[in-house]
Amino acid sequence: MSDSSAASEFSGPTEPSAATKQPKEPESQAQAATASSGPPKRSLASRLATRSAGGVLRVFLILTALFWLTPAVGLLVSSFREPEDMTASGWWTVLSKPADLTTRAYSTLLENDEITDALLNTVWITVPSTLGVVVIGAMAGYAFAWMDFKGRDWWFVAVVAMLVVPIQIALIPLARLFGDIGVFGTIGGPILFHIGFGLPFAVFLLRNFFAEIPRELLEAARLDGAGEVRLFFTVVMPLAGPALASLAIFQFLWVWNDLLVALVFTTTDSQPLTVALIRETRAFSQNIETLAPGAFLSLVIPLAVFFAFQRQFVSGVMAGAVK
């Protein structure tokens, strides 16, 4: 697993530096050429071609980045406009008169009990689902990595097989089951669902991580008289910090951003923010003043997580994307 760690973020410690130190970087090469210090390696024409190609590339990448940002900026700017302005002109017109921006849509939104309750529900659903998956998954992952029992490998294969099971297959059966045990319509429904479908990936990821722990370390702790349970909590879990963080971030985002599961299993009392907002989209153009800030409210937490934990975030998302 260690081989992929550097690769799993935008600029791992090894490869980008290698890239920037490439001798063929346009400027340095051109400078070298004008100073005529180094031995000329290429013809002037090819140097010029490389240089202008670099310029074209740069412009292309900047335009692409702007193009990628535009949709999200549109929503952000829209969320800071008066509703009347929003229907009268495009959000881009505001760029020339920023004085028209207002936070009114946000204050209206936060006075709306339905939205604030839904935001709280999102938290109440996300936190237990994440903790549940991390704890239960770590215990099982440890058992698969370091405990002996009959058919261990076959059990593990069965768990890996469940990695790609589509969540859709469980909607109907669990709607019935949750109805029978009385959690349908409460936040318990999505919590259980997300733990169930988060576990295969958690067990897979953590077993592979735990298996890398040096055997001697565990044996030493054992000789010191630590029991299996104490060993798990005092030695194994602290070592697994990075893996647990990636898993937790992925699971957190998965649950926070979920729409389908909550749409099926919650009612207006237990609905998370995504479901509350989808109700608004049903009458889109009338409610853009709720939707724009609401959508932004729902994505600001994931974005904060993204910027705060880039490394774990990327590896978590990469790792879990198969779901």
């Binding site: 980008p16 292309f60 405990m147 099971v165 469980a170 994505l299 198969v322």
Partner: protein, 452 residues
């Protein structure tokens, strides 16, 4: 040992740790094993395994669950119109989206490789992965808004279109202030201030078009003759090259404006309408007596309004576009990681041998990246088969049927007014069967690695 990563994420598609015989640290007591495993196994059994079995069983029964219908529901997947459309659209998604996203990711990864600010660029492209499909859906509802004054997609399309094409008969033609007409400048409609009467020819001068740019190059205008019964008049360009001529009068060198629609309006409703002839003259029947004349806005370019992004034909491509926006970063980061592992010397060797950059890319880089590309492609394929939120949020309800995909149809059939758990379960099983090959590949790879 650091962060778990890409390889794990490819769900065992890439390698796990090497096979090592592993024994319990000390002979673990059975109750401890049970303590550690039981929570996970109970959860998985009840929430994942049981539903698969239940769905198989339930898919063989009708919507009430009482009547056994055998494989009838599976037949319905193909014969039920809405479900079959969903199946076709899912096929389109699987055919287009993974290839598109992998391609974008490959382009971005290769192009940014030697750029110093690649981190910033990658962050921007990857950011949409953080947000929910719901938020992305709302973002793109706004982008695809039909009104070019609101949706940025149509604002761009209209901007480009109007730069190259002049779409209407007399776009931006204007009623001058010496005319009897008023209306929004360069847009129309223009309406006469006074009412018209037979025997008194109406003059409807327009300006704002250079005389040599009048579409169709019409001949000179003719002043209309008074007629006893009909309302007559002239629509012409009240301007001649080099100036001169009398304002508000049909001068010899001034051009006719044929094909302009003229409406007679009484109390807000149109009582008669006609079109100006080749010499700019028109005649309206006597019903128009006492009406005001109006030149409707259609004459002056009811401007091009862009594409109907969320209409029945374009909605699926539009939603796929939104999906590509979200997932290109995923493909890019994985491929960039693969690229970092490519041996530079191989590329250099090809360059020394005289290959140009394109040949190096096609003949060396891409084949070396093939394993990563396959992993990205397969992961996206699984993801796309189950696509739900984006379609549900972006496609407006009237075109939901046209944009439908299997996962959405399952939701609509089972949890919508139809409440048909039988067909819903059958769709779920179809989805499950679609991902089975990947499940089998995962298992075989795992067994090979660990020599089970």
């Amino acid at each position: 040992m650091s962060t778990p990563a890409v390889s794990a994420g490819a769900a065992g598609a890439a390698g796990g740790p090497p096979a090592k015989p592993r024994k319990s640290v000390l002979g673990t007591r059975p109750w401890v094993v049970v303590l550690f495993l039981l929570p996970a196994l109970v959860m998985l059994g009840a929430l994942v395994v049981y539903p698969i079995g239940y769905s198989v069983w339930r898919s063989l029964y009708d919507e009430t669950g009482d009547g056994f219908v055998g494989l009838g529901n599976y037949g319905d997947v193909f014969s039920d119109d809405a479900t079959f459309t969903a199946l076709k659209n899912t096929a389109i998604w699987v055919a287009v989206a993974p290839a598109l996203v992998t391609g974008l990711g490959l382009i971005f990864a290769v192009l940014t490789e030697r750029v110093r600010w690649q981190t910033a660029f990658k962050m921007i492209i990857f950011m949409p992965m953080a947000i929910s499909m719901l938020a992305a859906g709302i973002i793109f509802r706004l982008v695809y808004e039909a009104d070019p004054d609101q949706g940025v997609a149509n604002a761009v399309v209209v901007g480009v279109h109007d730069t190259f094409v002049e779409s209407t008969a007399y776009p931006k033609a204007n009623a001058p202030n010496w005319s009897d007409m008023e209306g929004p400048r360069a847009k129309g409609p223009y309406t006469t201030k006074s009412t018209v009467s037979a025997g008194d020819p109406v003059l409807l001068p327009l300006v704002g078009i250079p005389p040599d740019k009048v579409p169709g190059d019409p001949g000179p205008a003719k002043a209309a003759e008074a007629s006893g019964e009909e309302i007559t008049g002239t629509v012409w360009l009240d301007f001649q090259k080099g100036g001169g001529g009398e304002k508000g009068a049909v001068d010899a060198a001034e051009r006719a404006l044929p094909g302009v629609k003229v409406e007679a309006v009484k109390d807000g409703s149109v009582v008669a309408s006609t079109t100006s002839g080749d010499d700019g003259t028109f005649a309206l029947p006597k019903e128009a007596e006492g009406a005001q004349l109006r030149l409707p806005a259609s004459n002056f370019g009811a401007a091009y309004n862009g594409l109907d992004w969320l209409g029945p034909t374009l909605v699926t491509p539009a939603v796929i576009g939104a999906y590509a926006w979200m997932w290109a970063g995923f493909a890019m980061v994985l491929i960039a990681a693969g690229l970092a592992g490519v041996d530079r010397n191989l590329l250099e060797a090809a360059r020394v041998d005289g290959a140009n950059e394109w040949q190096v890319f096609r003949k060396v880089t891409v084949p070396l990246l093939a394993p990563v590309l396959v992993v990205v492609f397969v992961t996206l394929m699984i993801n796309v088969m189950k696509i739900f939120d984006l379609v549900y949020v972006i496609a407006p309800e009237p075109v939901q049927d046209d944009a439908n995909v299997l996962a959405l149809q399952l939701y609509l059939v089972a949890f919508g007014p139809r409440a048909d758990y039988g067909l819903g379960s059958a769709i779920a099983i179809v989805l499950f069967i679609l991902v089975l090959p990947v499940m089998i590949i995962n298992i075989r790879r795992l067994r090979k690695e660990r020599r089970l």
